[in-house]
């Protein structure tokens, strides 16, 4: 069965081909294998994808296809396997992630990447405002944060207001709904104005209506600096909200969907 044929009927994928322009994120021949006990499990087997600045790309694939692994590698949370061929399988803005030191990768995540997770992953001890400010606290040193404290709090408050959460600033995550938690998580991801937003099944834990609102929120993000979005999902309807859909199957991007 042709994979192109298989995915040809996907409803509203606006573009099947990347638009012309500079690739903000370039993934070429990406391999990643995990070891489960004595068994090696190849998750990504030469995945290739390019994401242009300002693009919203949905990575669509079944469970276990390597979507989340791809996202984590793009975000510098893990390092790809070394294989013959491509020495620098992931480049951000032209710079290979593989050449970055651990500290540079930390900085890359803090400054240039915002993560949104399926299960929100808010810290339960912190209130909504503190959760959003957490990224800024990580990015800036004590003095840097203290100098910018007022501006950063204002930004966090504005972000939360833009997501309709002004009345929830001092609430703990346990005191708000799932949709609100995900909006807080998006606000947290956007706090440091990253150039790249990586969303892992952002609606996977929400009902359809709430999920739709979350996607609206993500769509609204594109007006700001973080206008490049990579979202992984197994839901074709969710993927359809993106500019472009990339299909991932058995650790490879399906030919023709790049």
């Amino acid at each position: 069965m042709s994979t192109v044929t298989r995915h040809a009927a996907i409803p509203t994928a606006p573009e099947a081909r990347p638009p012309a322009g500079v690739a903000l994120l370039s993934v070429r021949d990406l391999h990643k294998t995990y070891r489960l006990g004595r068994v090696e499990v190849p998750v990504l087997r030469g995945a290739t994808i390019e994401v242009r600045e300002g693009e919203w790309v949905a990575v669509l694939g079944a469970s276990g296809s390597g979507k989340s692994t791809l996202l984590h590698l793009m975000g510098g949370l893990d390092r790809p396997d070394s294989v013959a061929g491509e020495r620098h399988p992931i480049r951000f803005d032209g710079r290979p992630l593989s050449e970055m030191s651990a500290g540079e990768l930390d900085r890359y995540r803090a400054e240039s990447v915002g993560f949104v997770f399926q299960f929100y992953h808010l810290l339960p001890e912190l209130n909504v405002l503190e959760n959003v400010l957490l990224g800024a606290m990580v990015l800036h040193g004590r003095f840097g944060y203290s100098r910018r404290r007022g501006a950063l709090r204002a930004r966090a408050t504005d972000l939360l207001a833009s997501f309709g959460l002004s009345h929830r600033l001092s609430h703990r995550p346990a005191e708000i709904s799932g949709g609100e938690r995900q909006r807080v998580a998006i606000a947290r991801a956007l706090m440091n104005e990253p150039r790249l937003l990586l969303a892992d099944e952002p609606t996977g834990n929400l009902d359809r209506e709430t999920g739709r609102r979350i996607l609206d929120a993500i769509a609204g993000v594109r007006g700001g600096p973080a206008r490049t979005i990579v979202m992984v999902t197994h839901d074709p309807e969710v993927a359809a909200r993106a500019d472009r859909i990339v299909h991932l199957e058995d650790g490879r991007v399906v030919a023709g969907s790049i």
Binding site: T69, H72, G75, L77, D78, A102, G103, E104, D106, R107, Y108, R109, A110, E111, F115, F117, H121, L122, L123, E125, L126, E130, L134, G135, M137, V138, L139, H140, G141, R142, F143, G144, Y145, S146, R188
Partner: protein
């Protein structure tokens, strides 16, 4: 780029949040507090006992003593004059040390250490005046809640006994003339019963009758008591002469705080003991050489003036508290000059024994120090449980917080930043626990005697019974340097306990952490 070592606000925020929202760390803090308090209380009390013991040991020695035992050395007046001419020397006094046998009114004989002292001079160099027991008291002892101490009755007798003790004299009942007397260690006779409140009550004295029976005499030793003292004089070569016996009245009794001293020591007026030991100035048969059993019986006796001798000179310094070793060196220099002025008559500087009070009590102090160190070691070892308590709690918390660690890594936190969250958290638990433990220890130590009294009256539990121990109360002072050391130890223990979990958190795979359920 910010330095990876720059302190981050998120670490402080998480430390505060974890500390105030979780029960487990509070339990860890409580454990640290109890361990800290235990070590600090032990150290303070044992250290206090050690201090009391060493101060007691110093009470009848002064700062430095110059000793030439047994035969003694002459011209000590000159030595004392040279010493007292030195600006750093406050006072010096002669002392004769020997052994003797006393016969008590009930017929018992006891071997004792006999010290000949010049009362007023001895009081200037040592704490002799303070150690005299029978004296007027304005306030009861701290444990004497009922003010039952007989010395509190305001009678003039106590003042007279005190003065008698200071001068080592007692007025002759017939002539009123002061006679040379003895001051006994308070435990020597067994005629004083030490109460739980820490004071002594004189007891009736059992006496043997001429028929071999026993009767009881209501005799208070410092008022009516007399003892027979026997000593063996030595000639200048250390050979024993005839035993000297003298009946001496008792002027007072002293309590140094060291049981061995109080049990085995009697003080006699210097001139009286010097005379008994034939160490006073006098015309004596010259000793020409060692005993020779084959020497002819007939020989020409030769007499010469034998100068007065003492076996020791005690010295009190003005700066000895600050620099005891320096003061000792100064005394050594003065003795060297003295020896040079009396060459051939007094021991040379290379053989004379010059000791500080610490040197003199070294064995006793070292033993108590070792006991203190041993107890501290045991308690510190027990306190290591705090390390494992923190380790276990942190291990569990890090398992619980695995996903949070993944989130922090996703937000850009570095490995060492994550480690520092937990180390900082451990330090915070240690700080809170140590400060709480320090406060607990302070409350307990400063009120330890009241707590002990309460335990005694309510539970019948007297751990430190003044009727048994010579210390009238449990030391209740926390030394700031010790407290700081123990508190720092508490924080360090927690840091140590947090280290392994912190490293585990630091090197956790962020993806596995994010996927942790």
């Amino acid at each position: 780029m910010a330095s990876p070592y720059t302190a981050r606000v998120y670490q402080a925020l998480l430390t505060r949040k974890y500390l105030t929202t979780k029960v487990m760390p509070l339990l860890a803090s409580l454990g640290v507090a109890l361990c800290t308090a235990m070590v600090l209380i032990t150290w303070s009390v044992m250290g206090g006992f050690l201090r009391m013991l060493t101060e007691s040991g110093r009470s009848l020695i002064g700062d430095v003593r110059i000793v030439w035992p047994n035969t003694g050395f002459p011209h000590y007046d000159d030595l004392i004059a040279r010493l007292e001419a030195d600006p750093e020397v406050e006072a010096a006094t002669p002392l004769i040390e020997t052994f003797g046998i006393i016969t008590l009114p009930d017929g018992r004989t006891e071997g004792v250490a006999v010290r000949g002292v010049d009362g007023p001079g001895f009081a200037r160099v040592t704490s002799f005046a303070e150690t005299l027991w029978w004296k007027p008291m304005a306030e009861p002892l701290r444990k004497d809640r009922g003010a039952e101490d007989p010395r509190l009755d305001g009678r003039d007798m106590w003042r007279r006994l005190y003065e008698n003790g200071l001068t080592l004299t007692r007025p002759d009942p017939e002539t009123g003339e002061p006679k040379a007397a003895m001051v006994l260690g308070i435990e020597v006779t067994d005629f004083n019963r030490r109460t739980r409140s820490g004071f002594y009550i004189p007891m009736v004295i059992p006496q043997q009758t001429a028929e071999g029976g026993l009767t009881h005499a209501d005799v208070f030793m410092p008022l009516q008591g007399e003892l027979t003292l026997r000593v063996v004089p030595l000639d200048s070569r250390g050979r024993p002469r005839d035993v000297q016996t003298r009946v001496l009245p008792v002027a007072n009794e002293f309590e140094s705080g060291l049981y061995d001293i109080d049990r085995q020591t009697v003080l006699v007026r210097f001139d009286a003991l010097q005379s008994m030991l034939q160490m006073n100035e006098g015309l004596r048969l010259a000793e020409d050489g060692p005993d020779d059993p084959f020497a002819p019986e007939e020989r020409e006796d030769r007499y010469e003036v034998d100068p007065a001798r003492t076996t020791a000179v005690l010295v009190r310094g003005r700066t000895a508290d600050r620099d005891l070793a320096g003061f000792k060196a100064r005394v050594e220099r003065i003795y060297a000059e003295f020896a040079a002025g009396h060459a051939g008559e007094v021991p040379t500087p290379s053989v004379i024994v010059i000791q500080t009070w610490e040197d003199a009590n070294r064995t006793m102090i070292a033993a108590v120090k070792k006991e203190t160190a041993l107890v501290l070691f045991i308690f510190s070892f027990i306190s290591m449980t705090a390390v494992f308590l923190v380790l276990a709690i942190f291990w569990a918390m890090i398992s619980e917080k695995t996903r949070d660690i993944g989130v922090l890594r996703a937000l850009g936190a570095g490995s060492w930043g994550i480690a520092w969250v937990w180390l900082r958290y451990g330090a915070a638990i240690g700080l809170v626990g140590s400060v709480a433990g320090g406060l607990l220890a302070w409350v307990i130590v400063t009120n330890i005697n009241d707590i002990h009294d309460w335990m005694g009256t309510s539970l019948g539990l007297y751990v430190w019974d003044p009727a048994i121990y010579v210390f009238k109360e449990i030391p209740r002072r926390i030394e700031p340097d010790k407290a700081a050391f123990v508190l720092a130890g508490g924080v360090l223990s927690c840091l140590l306990g947090a280290l392994i979990p912190a490293l585990r958190a630091a090197f956790m795979n962020p993806i596995r952490a994010l996927r942790f359920e």
